[in-house]
Amino acid sequence: MGECVLVHVGEGDWIVVDSCIDSQSGQPVALNYLGSLGVDVASQVKLVVATHWHDDHIRGLAATLRAAASAKFVDSAAYGFQDLLRVVELGNTTAPGSSATREYADIVRILEERQGKGEKREAVGPVRALANRKLLSLTSTGRSVSAEVFSLSPADGVFSRAEAELREALSAIKRRRRPRRRGPNQLSVVLWLTVGVLNVLLGADLEHVPGTTEGWQAIVGSVERPVGRARFFKVPHHGSKNADCPACWTDLLVEQPFVILTPYSPSMLPKHEDITRLCGRTPRVFLTSDPGRYRLPRRDNAVEKTLRELSAKPRALVGQMGHVRLRSDARSADQEPVLLLRNGAQQQCA
């Protein structure tokens, strides 16, 4: 269960956005895939981004960062770094099984080691992402394709929300509970990538709250964001209605962009109406896997019988790790990308 986005930004350079674990190999999917391509992760991965701290976006991120020895680490500036570390250290001490605190604690150790070896913080991170900040610039004259990476969120107005979230997380941890997800996710990092003449918009889990200066509303209304429209769009928050921003389609995206989304089975996202809505905007909608096809493991008859008697209704949350890959020439805005769908990934619109 989870998502990970890899973007080749030209000249063999990569960025990794979020992470999840491949259920077959038990390894981070980014390392699996890049390894299969023969990419030297240690030198060719330039950026590792944690868009936010939900489990389905960060499992395996520390291992990925450790392998990406040349990469800067990026996370959301909405969380005060000191407060965030307090939550991480307390959570990791009291509930070491929690994915989020364990991953971030491991990431902090990696950053500490690298700074201890003399590497500068600007090169190592954490780089705190916020609206309209340039995170990476690969524009040297020797490159055939230049690349820039910007964060479009979080907006200034959500910092108080982050403080409240961390306070609630601390309270939960002190009561020996895992912090729960609450409210719209306005703290995550949306990325805008310009690679050659192509733009890519990675929506993380950012949600849309109309009439506010938060979330997608803040991005659309910003006069400082990079110009242009994206041809490739990672749909936010698993296609949910509360992350749908109509103005994004008119202001941020080309007509009929290529759209990718990942399911989140605990909330049964995307729903059928979400797919219908997306298909109404573009026929190029790709879902990495179909939760309806996830299968429960077969267990001992006594266990199966007990589950039936208890009316427990178990539901598998993970299936095969689906993969959508789009390859396009960054020097051409019109060339049709080469599409690859693997392990249950599907095009959605008829």
């Binding site: 009291t94 500490e112 493991p297 266990v303």
Partner: protein, 184 residues
């Protein structure tokens, strides 16, 4: 000579004349009923002359025999766990709760979501049932000393010692030092 009420070692109590055990499976462990010979004598059915002349035959026909029960430490209860999960409560409804399960029997199995009745939680654990709480769920068999097999499902919520404020402040101090180092 035996008194009217005697405590005996159960194994020694069993002899060729004492066949009053009605639960053969417990034969070697304990004797819970009157020995048959005493019953026969009581009802005038005992015609065994050896019995009448032997010390055992001269004791009162209604004599009870108490036997020593096996200690709990030597209990023959056996539990066979077939499936174990570590669960985390996601939502508590009026009569059920929703949880995410991680398979602790086979870590390669995917996480699952499940809905369970609140009645499956013991009364002593109910105060611990809340969003974010961790529990352990086992399904398996329990074999009683009597040889009966029962299928069991057990849910137990994690109990953690309370955090002392001094410990929390110490952890915060360490975190603050680390934050300052990484941000310098």
């Amino acid at each position: 000579m035996l008194t009217s009420t005697s405590v005996r070692d159960p194994v020694a109590a069993l002899g060729s004349r004492e066949v009053g055990v009605l639960f053969p499976a417990f034969e070697k462990e304990f004797l819970v009923r009157h020995p048959l010979i005493a019953m026969k004598t009581r009802f005038g059915l005992n015609t065994d002359e050896d019995t009448k002349s032997s010390p055992q035959g001269q004791r009162a026909p209604s004599e009870d025999i108490l036997v020593r029960l096996p200690s709990l430490r030597k209990s023959k209860w056996k539990v066979k766990v077939l499936q174990r999960w570590i669960g985390e409560v996601e939502q508590v409804k009026a009569e059920r709760f929703v949880a995410m399960l991680v398979d602790a029997t086979n870590s390669r199995n995917p996480p699952e979501q499940v809905e369970l009745d609140l009645e499956e939680v013991s009364e002593s654990d109910l105060p611990l049932l809340a969003e974010g709480a961790t529990f352990y769920w086992s399904i398996g068999y329990r074999d009683t000393p009597g040889g009966q097999r029962q299928r069991i499902s057990t849910i137990r919520f994690a109990r953690h010692p309370r955090l002392k404020e001094a410990d929390v402040q110490q952890i915060f101090s360490q975190a603050d030092l680390l934050a300052a180092y990484l941000q310098k």
